[in-house]
Subunit: 189 residues, 2 copies
């Protein structure tokens, strides 16, 4: 076995390992999502501690108090989901998107009249499902699980089902897998 | 040596280890900041890849195009800095805060007339310094290093010095260590 052959073998092995490592990461995220955030019947719960440890995708302000989506919206996903999206343009299986809808605070600041986010009133959650796991479940369809949580009881998904509660607002984003990616600077590198 | 004594010793050792581990984390962050983001002369550079891997603290909108801080502001810090702030109420040495000032995009969405963040025009960066490292350097004072980067050349700090460029706007936040923490939901758990 000569020296070049050894180097070539080492390169092949490290290529194989790095490929395996990316796949393993995705598989790990999917297992975690479908082990801790989604139960075996397709019930979705609101993840913990995502603000500190997940990736922030972007913010929206819907300023008109009469508008259906009034509030400061902040959107988060797992770090591995953002990383894979940037590499492939798609959300991998087990990706979770959380959109907080917060109260709008405002006041005169040295930078000018400013608005910022107050308490969270509502969380919208989407869970990527590339395996059509929960056929017939009203919260699952179009490649995602869909849920709605309100501040008075963040442990209960109060969506009436994705077709009734979610698709109306998300319809314009159908061509970007139902996600309003144009508002997410973190996904546009 | 009886069994209770062994258990007690094990508890003491694990307490000591967990304390050491927190201190080690803080020291590691400080070393990284003062090794890769700040050079030995106190020059501050704009960190890479913070959107994907750091913690998002909050967003501001200054909507008036005539206001000095017009734009969509998004603020980030290292995960360990946010964690320590939540535990102690203080930013540890080596904490870095990045405030992006982005263009404001707007349009009619299904949720109502919405505004969201476009391209970044400006980055403000603050670096926590609990050791008064760079006395006499115009970019360092009041416990922080201060820098300003613009999109046309994100590698050059174009601040005229913190007293001239930064303190005017930050004065109202003096009592919260010069940081507008009321706008950062992630720090209010």
């Amino acid at each position: 076995m000569n020296r070049n052959y050894k180097i070539f073998s080492a390169m092949l092995i490290s290529l194989a390992l790095s490929g395996h490592s990316n796949m393993a990461l995705s598989q790990e995220m999917s297992n975690k999502t479908y082990g801790t955030i989604v139960d075996s019947e397709g019930n979705i719960r609101l993840p913990d501690n995502y603000q500190q440890t997940w990736t922030h995708l972007g913010s929206w302000l819907v300023g008109d108090p009469q508008a259906p989506g009034h509030g400061f919206h902040d959107v988060y996903t797992q770090k591995d989901a953002a990383k894979t999206y940037l590499e492939t343009g798609e959300f991998p299986d087990g990706s979770v998107l959380i959109k907080e809808v917060r109260a709008v605070e405002s006041g005169a600041k040295t930078t000018g009249q400013a608005k910022w986010a107050g308490n969270t009133n509502i969380w919208f959650v989407m869970v990527k499902d590339q395996q059509a796991r929960f056929k017939g479940n009203a919260h699952w369809g179009e490649g995602w699980g869909w849920a709605l949580f309100k501040a008075e009881n963040p442990s209960a998904n109060v969506s009436q089902g994705y077709a009734e509660t979610c698709l109306g607002c998300h319809a314009p984003a159908k061509n970007t897998d139902w996600v309003f990616t144009e508002g997410y600077p973190t996904l546009q590198h």
